[in-house]
Amino acid sequence: MAKKTLLNEKEIHIILHRLACQLIENHHDFSNTILIGIQPRGIHLANRLVKILKDEYQIKNINLGKLDITFYRDDFRRRDEPLEASKTDIRFIVDNKKVVFIDDVLFSGRSIRAALTAIQTFGRPKNIELLVLIDRRFSRHLPIQPDYKGRQVDVIMDERVRVAWKENDEKDAVYILNSDNK
């Protein structure tokens, strides 16, 4: 059981505030912006950022949606265990809006590829940006890079990065787990 802590609660707190500020720099009052949490694990991060933007920077009326990409994945029928779909909740047309995808870990880039296809069913966004908490370097299968990143890490293929949120785990933390405790 090898579990290494990559980020602790305090570090995550600082990073989240930085990411929120970077978003404000580019999106001002968010009137033309839609934040999209990628199901299932990007939702917590998206909720946290929205909370910071609302409570500490008094930005009101932030459009937040949830996007499930299960039906858009390129590994349907190619996995050993089927994936369970989550809820998609986007109550607005994204036409001509600035969309920001929010996910916890960027690894192969395939989830984001699926999300790029999925979001098209809600219209044609003006542009799409990507925000991730952890960017796993040198592991991409596709030409996809984040616009905002919390922390960049080099992790070998057999290892996994796991982001824990206190909403479902006991505390906020980012761990690196090696292959024997997947």
Partner: protein, 309 residues
């Protein structure tokens, strides 16, 4: 659970409650998909589906076709009336010829009971039963239960009466299995001549009096009188049927609760149900049709998941 326990959908009889839960949960997601501006997902883009209809159908065929297209599957349609079946080709030969065109899933509607079961023993493609004779029509029963669940929150503990021509109905049998599996109470109501002899062995009660049946139930699923399947006269006149078993507004007003009215279609307006009831707020007939697409998408998706290359 994320996998179905069956390899084909031949009847509700083979399903477990977990399968129904999984199908409903998946259908919830697809219902959201089909209400988007662009109602399509690419999941099944390398799957080919053949819709083999050896018997006429409008609603079911359209619903399946739409479900398949919304999942991005390639589809071929076949209807017996315009085919070599008329020239004397056997079912297995017809299907094997179609399968050699590399088809992964077959949707089968057939006038003979057990056609899907029989075929499943001879071919490897997935089979979805879209109605076999007077036996089962599983997708209809699933969309019926799904519509009840949507309207009432749950099927468990609800009282459902199935009214009309039970004898010639595949919808009735599949509905009885599906409702009982989910913990609903089921009664049947209709002319004695249109009630199968041993139906009460399934644990359903027979009620001859329509008003009493309606007073008892939360949901009334009204079936069509299937004139085309009746080789002899099962009741004296349509007028008498309407008087004894037709549902009209006066009858519903005489009951002190709002029951839900369902009908699998096509409706004989003025026979088993009057227009003012079919178009009333109590009726969820059009919701059933919408849910049919979502339910069929879920079933096709979950069966396709099992196809590995």
């Amino acid at each position: 659970m994320t996998k179905l326990s069956v390899n084909n959908l031949l009847g509700i009889k083979h399903l477990k409650i977990k399968d129904i839960d999984l199908i409903f949960k998946t259908a919830d997601h697809f219902k959201e998909v089909i209400n988007r501006p662009i109602k399509k997902v690419p999941s099944l883009r390398d799957i080919t589906i053949a819709n083999l209809f050896f018997e006429n159908s409008t609603r079911t065929r359209l619903s399946f076709e739409l479900a398949e297209k919304r999942l991005s599957a390639d589809i071929i349609n076949f209807s017996a009336s315009q085919s070599s079946v008329k020239k004397g080709e056997s079912l297995i030969d017809t299907v094997n010829n179609i399968l050699s065109m590399k088809v992964d899933i077959i949707v089968l509607r057939h006038p003979n009971e057990g056609a899907g079961d029989f075929l499943s023993k001879h071919i490897t493609a997935k089979i979805i039963n879209a109605g076999d004779g007077a036996h089962e029509h599983p997708t209809q029963a699933l969309l019926d239960s799904y519509s009840i669940r949507e309207k009432l929150g749950t099927v468990m503990g609800k009282k459902v009466v199935i009214i009309g021509d039970i004898l010639h109905s595949r919808v009735a049998l599949s509905n009885i299995y599906a409702l009982q599996l989910q913990g609903a109470e089921v009664k049947i109501c209709g002319p004695t001549t249109l009630i199968p002899k041993f139906i009460t062995k399934l644990g359903v009660e027979y009620e001859n009096n329509l008003k009493k049946a309606l007073e008892w139930c939360d949901v009334a699923n009204v079936l069509r009188v299937q004139h085309e399947r009746m080789d002899i006269k099962y009741f004296p006149t349509v007028r008498e049927y309407v008087q004894l078993f037709g549902i009209n507004k006066d009858l519903l007003n005489a009951i002190d609760k709002d029951i839900i009215i369902m009908h699998p279609g096509p409706i004989n307006r003025g026979v088993e149900i009057t227009s003012d009831v079919a178009d009333s707020k109590q009726s969820i007939i059009l919701n059933q049709v919408e849910n049919g697409v979502a339910i069929r998408m879920a079933i096709i998706y979950l069966l396709a998941e099992q196809i590995k290359r």
